[in-house]
Amino acid sequence: MLHRRIYQFFIVYFLGIGLLFGIKLVLGLSDYVIPGPSNLWNTATAEWYRYLGDVLNTFTVAVVGQVLSIIIALTVGVVGRKATWFGSFIKVAAYNVQAYPIVAIAPILFILLGDGYLTRLFIAAMICYFPLLLSVIGIMGEPVADIEHFYRITGRLRWQLEVKIRAFENLYKLTTVISGSATLAMAGTIVAEFIAANAGIGYSIRIALYQSDLSKILVALFMIGITLSFYQGVLEMLGTSLKKSWAGK
């Protein structure tokens, strides 16, 4: 599972690089617009260590942001699963938070909180929170009647059991969404860093953009992609082992 994720990334990345080199070759573009293979290799050997540090910095923020967003989405989903006034209120409030694109309100966050760790974390969490919330509310709001009926009519259906039944029955969906939200968390962190932060791989990409250095950007993309593929592979493996141990399959 992990190796599949990684070799899939290699295929996509090198196809993209190949396409760029093809365009360069066909249109006769200079190294300034699209760097050649040797230029790219030199940049990679010179910058990979610094970019690795930047990616790990971004990755740390993304993981913490993702964990935060999972906690928030699960809490809102569990509280808002009931068709009560309070449940509806929670759902509406949660949806309204997303009425504005988070990137649009990011400058406000940077003004209020500065360009440090907290702002990046907040933006990462907000960007990956909403898809998670939609899935969790969908899962938690849908009764599993065939299982819940017995517990309901015998008075045994506490909220913890209800949540456990619904989570168990939708384990595949939940693990897929959580694994997929890793991409969003990483993208959210990079976007935050690109807008205004003073650290992370998004910040390095911004500097490379100002320098019009495509080879640096391509090296940065490689570092981001390989890290994310590894992380998603690990999440999928964890999800599979969780399913095996919980469902006995």
């Binding site: 065939d146 299982i147 009926h149 017995f150 009519i153 015998t154 469902a247």
Partner: protein, 247 residues
Amino acid sequence: MKAKLFSGFPLTHDAQMSLLSCKDIRFQYPGTKTPLFDGLTITIDRPGFHALFGPSGIGKTTLAKIISGDIAGFSKQVKASGKGPCLYTYNQERLPGWSSVGRHVEQSTPEGRESLRDHLIHGFGLSNLLGMRFSQLSMGQCNRVNLLRYLLQDFRLLIMDESLANVDEPTREIIIYQIKSTFPKAGFLYISHNVVEVARFCDQIIVLRGRHKNPRTRLIVGQNHQKSQPLDKGALEASMLEIMNAA
């Protein structure tokens, strides 16, 4: 294992009141033009193993849900004697898959019913399945496990909606005899399309008839056969014929 009578259950029949009485039930599904029930009245006057019979789509499950309270708003029209709730169980129910069948049955056994649980597990032929997950069982085994956990609960009336579907005939027979002998004072309403089974094992059979028929229900007396009794085949055939004519 020696069979025990669980007459000490809080299911004792109140002689002053019928087991089940439904009066003037009117029910229409939203979006439909005609009511499913328009002034439906049924009465079962004593505890025992009774049946609700009728063709598919006639409203048996809806009526069962009205009686059990799964469809709310009929508490004034539906009266039942005895203590405890009316429970409704159906053949597609599932147990959660996170632990074994035995663990789930153990957890859903009320205190003091452990000997009843063991007695039923043995009688229902489930002893070898307790270590398995619910998803590993056949459909008939699933239905037997599901019915077993309901029988362990407090109830004044247990409605069994196709609860023994997919169970082979000899095993079904054993289970019905066991239920009747173990719970002689309890009330059961068995929903089945098997006319032979209903005529043979049930005491009173409520036949739910088509909307155009008047009255909507007919009460037929079944053979209420017990394991120890000889079976009167002539009487059984007469009951079957009466049920078929009523439907």
